[in-house]
Symmetry: C2
Subunit: 416 residues, 2 copies
Amino acid sequence: MSLKFTIVKKLDGTLGRAGSIQTPHGTIETPAFITVGTKATVKSLNSDQIKEIGIQCVLANTYHLYLQPGDELVKRAGGLNKFMSWKGPTMTDSGGFQVFSLGVAFGKGITKMTKGKELLLPEARPDDEGLPKLVTIDHDGVMFRSHLDGSAHYFTPERSMEIQHNLGADIIFAFDECTSPTESIHYQSEALDRTHRWAKKSLERHLELSKQNSEQSLKGGLQAPALFGIVQGGRHENLRKESAQFLADLKVNGVGFDGFGIGGSFEKEDMGSAVRWANEILPEDKPRHLLGIGEPEDLFQGVENGVDTFDCVAPTRNGRTGTVYTVTGKKHIGNAEFIDKFAAIDPDCGCYTCKNYTCAYINHLFRGKEMLAGTLASIHNLYFVTHLVSGMRKAILEGNFVRYKEDFFNTYKRLS
Amino acid sequence: MSLKFTIVKKLDGTLGRAGSIQTPHGTIETPAFITVGTKATVKSLNSDQIKEIGIQCVLANTYHLYLQPGDELVKRAGGLNKFMSWKGPTMTDSGGFQVFSLGVAFGKGITKMTKGKELLLPEARPDDEGLPKLVTIDHDGVMFRSHLDGSAHYFTPERSMEIQHNLGADIIFAFDECTSPTESIHYQSEALDRTHRWAKKSLERHLELSKQNSEQSLKGGLQAPALFGIVQGGRHENLRKESAQFLADLKVNGVGFDGFGIGGSFEKEDMGSAVRWANEILPEDKPRHLLGIGEPEDLFQGVENGVDTFDCVAPTRNGRTGTVYTVTGKKHIGNAEFIDKFAAIDPDCGCYTCKNYTCAYINHLFRGKEMLAGTLASIHNLYFVTHLVSGMRKAILEGNFVRYKEDFFNTYKRLS
């Protein structure tokens, strides 16, 4: 058993809970925000900075690392931890998100979280015509065209498991098809069948590889990772529930998943219910990860609906483009109002950036297109989101979650 | 007196010496490599990283900071140190280098150090025709066209002093005209007259401002900086000696310069003698800074010829483009040979990068165009050059400089 999940305290009247996930590289205290390090690097930050922020776990991207430098090379380096010089817990996603991001979403500005209803109009694809060129999905897997050099790469659940075992993260994910809310229920249902078929194949191959790993482990190899199945089903209650039940029940030789991911691209108003439908069915004693979600309002909603861990590129992506989180909402630090603001982004913030630098200086760095600009803003944003979620944990433990949430939204306003 | 220079030990048979420069923000142990932070940021590094490398002093650029964010803003921030959150000694150059870089060198690939004789062919400018468009030089100063927005800015020695006093570095430089080795002796001589006239005006205005500063300082304002005059004269022995003598003798109300810079764009083979000509004349008890020089072979030559401090963008610029210093010479870390080299750039190096990351990982970061790539390579390069020069200091103190130099060049080869 490469993972142990413990619930310490539940959040009354909700699906929420505070707990801990023990992994071979340390314990993740949950709820927790997991930081994305797509190409085995949390963009612009070194390992000491990641640790100093309070980040507990880094999630890297299987598809990107497979393309470059290659999973075999990461394995030869001693696995993801050694390769990127990060001592704490790690996750890799399965490549399934790229079925979405390089597929239906490619070049269309569709993200993990869409706003409003506009994408649900009948532009939803009636059939397989017009499939985006970088991804071709079939019964057994997905053909990707590399965004780097156009080369073709066929991903199957088996292949995803082999690659992820080579990368050697503590927690890995089953290969799935991440769908868009623009899809018809007909397409969602078909995609879900694929995701479930692939979940079973992922689990089978994972257990075979784990057995091999376990033999190698005695000789000093990597320990076998924990595998999470991914719930899909879009915004449809019946599909989400069917998916959660299927994955909860799925066993191979009596062994099921170590935990669960909840995937899909959401509409803002659908996310909470989609997560709740899944978590009402998923076994309570297994950890649940909500894939690709990270805005403050969504994090609260996720925790209340029983999510233990989250990952999202938003804090670093926002940081690099000059958007910083504050207790009153997100701000564009490059704006004129910050040119001569000789105070920290948030004087009460404990991050390295706020303890050492003023808005005026960071504004100057962004205007001067200096590399340090994005680094300092990323540090602040990751600290903000990481501590927002660890604050939720503390609030659950201390029994004052509702007040913590109210206090937060009393000042925090979403950026228009 | 805002600066105190002490010689601890001389290097037998040469002009070299080990010493210390005390400034209001701490002591620089010399010889020392000063790190360039053009826009009040050592590119990609935060203050803790600068300190951890062992960097003693940061040199920022007057012209760039004048344009953005503006010297008045830096003054309002509490001066350069507070603005950039750096506690150690600082310098600012005078803007004189931009007379060169935005002038005759602009867009022509001419740098501070040219190789071979090709630039000395008769393309040297016969008269003022064809003066580059971003700089116009006259009797009293220089008209710059901003590379940011095309606006016009007239720099005089007086203006340079006012800007540098606003920026508030510990050591500032007189406004000069940095010339190219492509210039005729006729032009060099004319330019030197300007540099000397401007040196006197710089010193006069500096003393006026220092008197005002001194009054403000009692009320908590910035302490007056130390002023270095800059020796020019190109590759001509008579001009270099004339310049050194003029600046050494120059006094205003009995007060001279606190130290000296040696400026100009050099040909590789001319640098040593140009520096020696100056330092044989400059007063021994004042510190000497060689502007814009930083390759290992040039640093040794500088120290032997009596230079106390150096600055150069090379370590960070090389780092950002993937060229790293090693004891066997410079290497391109993005090259194929490093793809699977699972060892540090230099296993014996004490820098953060070498203690934590492998060549394979850094190679991956460069190929992936990741921000951390340039940061890690810059840290290593700055550590290499900083410790190469502090090693020279140690060798002078311990009496084994010749062996230190021989050992270095036994393995170090210049990149072809």
